[in-house]
Structure formats: structure tokens, C-alpha cells
Amino acid sequence: MLLVAAIAILITMALALARALLGPSVYDRVLAVNMFGTKTVLLMAIMAFAMGRTDFLDLALAYALINFIGVLAVLWFVQESQLREQRRAATSDRGPPAGSDNE
């Protein structure tokens, strides 16, 4: 039973990796990484039971808590770089008035 679940998770991981490699957009990659993290948590939980080392569940717990931060960091990064581009456009377009408000 655990083996079937492990195989299913491994296939999902391979598919997520394929999506992360192919892209094409930023959000595809972010979602792929997030999904990969979730599958890592699940695989660790399954292997902990299969290997009889249930105390290793701490690790799965750590991942589950931390995985979220990467996604938020990406959101923050996208927001910051958009803000910066707007600021750059505003400073470079100072010549023609009201030109920067079009975006």
C-alpha cells in the first residue's frame, strides 16, 4: 500500500519537474516548485513509516512549515520588480508629461 503511494508520488514529482523545466511562465515554475515541496513532505512521511522511523516525521513537519515561505518570497520578488520597473519608467519618461501614467 505504502509502495503504491510512493510510486504515485514519484510520478507526480517527475511531472512537476517537467513543468518546472518547460515553464514557460513564472507562475508555472512557482507552482511546480510548490508542488514538488508538497510531494517531498508526503514522500518523507511515507518513507518514515515504511522504514519504521516514525520519529523522522519531524522533518516532514519542518518542510510543511517552511515550504510556504518560498512561494511568498517569489510573490514579493515579482511585486518588487514590478514596482521598480514602474519607478524606472517614471524617471526615464520625465520629458513628456503624464507619459508614465499609461501603465
Binding site: G23, D58, L65, I69, G70, L72, R84
Partner: protein, 325 residues
């Protein structure tokens, strides 16, 4: 057998990811792929029963490294600069090194071989003597903190040196020293409701979990390095959602500098205390009347020192990058 097959599958995914990272010219996708690389690496450590290492990889690779790379990426152009490629020399060197490594791998003992030097040298002694001498269930912590305390002291100072280097290079921005770092980033992601609510729920638990890893390191996987990285991950989550300014108000840069240096000093002080009480440097047995109690006290205090330094340095590096615009 099944574990071996799963390990082989994960290792081949690891190779694919590594090649993709090298070939990616878009730095953002390279960062995302390196996140996946670290997850795969942690799974492999996990399958090899190396729970402490897997936990470090989890905390540093998946949590902190991605954020640090993104914070650095913010300050650079989004694509890799095209360097002059040495068309003949590069593949030749790579091929030669690869052949050497493959040749060397034939001399390596097979996985789990009981006759391997690693299993014959000091490992049996550690396994046999730890219950008697140190009396903690996690032998990895006993090796790291007590038998090899000197190495770990060196590692802590390496971490501190790396942090000092980054703070020297980046400082507080515009020529200011790091201790006067401030930020005008008011809000972070606080305008978005879902991340805000999620972060508010998660941050206390991440910090609590870090404390658990810190002070439960003798009994379960974990210790100062892992706890420091998880603690930093929690603070970074707070910073992403509530903005840099508030985070710097909660833990000012000056405090971070004191934490970084204080942790390493605390570790060294335990060593000197051992000398003062009639033992060797970093010999914890003399710290209390009972040698085993002395070992416990020593390990807890030096793990605290490690945790403080790692927290201080990682958080300083994050602020040094993230507070700039």
C-alpha cells in the same frame, strides 16, 4: 531494495535538475530549479537515514536559500551575462574530471558495506560508548557537539566570518555600516489578505518549532544549525508579509551583530570554562560533579551558541540584501 530504487530514481531527477540549472540563462528559473534541487537532495539524505543533514538541507535549502537568492536577484539583471566560452578547454577539463571521478568510484566501498573503513574506524566506538559517556539518544549530536566539538567551533567561526564578509561588502547601503541599516519598505505583502492571514497563523508555530529543534536536539534530529535556520525562516516570513521596516524594529541590526558574535563567544567560553575547571579545552565532563551531567550542560550551552550565531548571521545577510532598493 525498494529504498534503493526510489533513491536511484531521485538521483536521476537530481542529475536532470542540475543540468537544467547549468543550462538555464534566465536566472529566475535557475533559482526555482535550485529550490527543487535542494528538496531532492534532502530526500536523498533522508533515504540514507541521515535525518540531521536532511533537516539542515530542509531549513537552509528550501526555506532560507531561495529567499536569499531572490533577494540577491532583485539587485541584478534578470538574465545571465554571456561570458567568453573556452570552446575546447572547458569540455576537456569536465570530461577529464568526470572520468577521474568515475574511476575513483570503483574503489569506493558499496553502500552499507560493514567492512567499509567508515564503519570500522571510530563509528563502533561512538555507538558503544555514547550511552555510557554522554548518555543522549542522538549519537549525531554527541559526535557533533562533544567528540568533535573542536570542528563545530571552527564551523561556527566560519559562519561568523562569512556573515562579516557579507556585512562588509553590503553594509547598510549607501556607505553606512550594517548596524545603522534601515529600510523604507513599509508594507511588504501586507496588502494581500491571504498571505497575511496565513503568515500570521504560521509564524508563531515556526518559531516554536525552531525552539523545539534547538532544545530537543539531543533526543531527536536537530540542533543549533537547524534551529537557527528555521528561526530565520520564521522571521523572514514575518518580514515578507509585514515589511522590512517593522522587522528591523523588532530585531534591530545592532542586536543581530551581538547575536552573531555572542553565539561564537559563548561556544568558546564553554571551552575556556572547561580549562578553568581543570579539564581540556571543550571537555564538558568537568563542568559538573557528575561527568554525564557536565556533558549535557556543555552540549545544551554550545548548541545555544551555534543557534544564536546561525540566526544572527543568516538574518543579517537577508536584511543586507532585502533592505536595499
Amino acid at each position: 531494495m525498494t529504498t534503493l530504487l526510489i533513491g536511484a530514481f531521485l538521483l536521476s531527477l537530481l542529475v536532470i535538475t542540475a543540468v537544467a540549472i547549468v543550462r538555464a540563462t534566465d536566472l529566475f528559473s535557475a533559482v526555482m530549479l535550485s529550490g527543487i534541487f535542494s528538496l531532492l537532495m534532502a530526500l536523498n539524505f533522508f533515504l540514507l537515514d541521515a535525518a540531521d543533514v536532511a533537516l539542515t538541507e530542509a531549513a537552509v535549502g528550501a526555506g532560507v536559500a531561495t529567499v536569499l537568492l531572490l533577494a540577491g536577484l532583485r539587485l541584478t539583471p534578470p538574465t545571465e551575462a554571456r561570458g567568453r566560452s573556452l570552446r575546447v578547454l572547458t569540455p576537456a577539463v569536465i570530461a577529464a574530471v568526470a572520468l577521474l571521478m568515475i574511476y575513483a568510484s570503483f574503489g569506493q566501498p558499496s553502500l552499507g558495506d560493514p567492512q567499509a573503513p567508515a564503519q570500522q574506524h571510530v563509528a563502533p566506538w561512538y555507538i558503544e560508548k555514547t550511552p555510557e559517556l554522554v548518555d543522549i539518544p542522538n549519537i549525531v549530536t554527541a559526535v557533533l557537539a562533544s567528540y568533535r566539538g573542536f570542528d563545530t567551533l571552527g564551523e561556527v567561526f566560519v559562519v561568523l566570518t562569512a556573515g562579516i564578509g557579507v556585512m562588509f561588502l553590503l553594509g547598510g547601503g549607501r556607505g553606512k555600516p550594517f548596524s545603522r541599516l534601515d529600510s523604507n519598505v513599509e508594507e511588504g505583502l501586507s496588502r494581500h489578505l491571504i498571505p497575511k492571514v496565513m503568515a500570521r497563523l504560521l509564524v508563531p508555530f515556526i518559531l516554536l518549532f525552531a525552539l523545539f529543534i534547538q532544545f530537543h536536539g539531543e533526543y531527536s534530529p536537530g540542533g543549533g544549525f537547524q534551529a537557527g535556520a528555521i528561526f530565520v525562516a520564521g522571521i523572514i516570513l514575518f518580514s515578507l508579509v509585514r515589511g522590512e521596516r517593522l522587522t528591523l524594529a523588532v530585531i534591530p541590526p545592532r542586536v543581530l551583530l551581538w547575536m552573531s558574535a555572542g553565539g561564537a563567544l559563548l561556544y568558546g567560553a564553554v571551552g575556556l570554562a572547561g580549562i578553568a575547571m581543570g579539564g581540556n579545552f571543550l571537555d564538558y565532563s568537568v563542568l559538573a560533579d557528575d561527568p554525564i551531567t557536565g556533558q549535557h550542560i556543555g552540549i545544551i550551552v554550545i548548541e545555544l551558541g551555534v543557534g544564536l550565531t546561525v540566526t544572527g548571521v543568516l538574518l543579517s545577510i537577508f536584511h543586507a540584501f532585502a533592505a536595499r532598493d
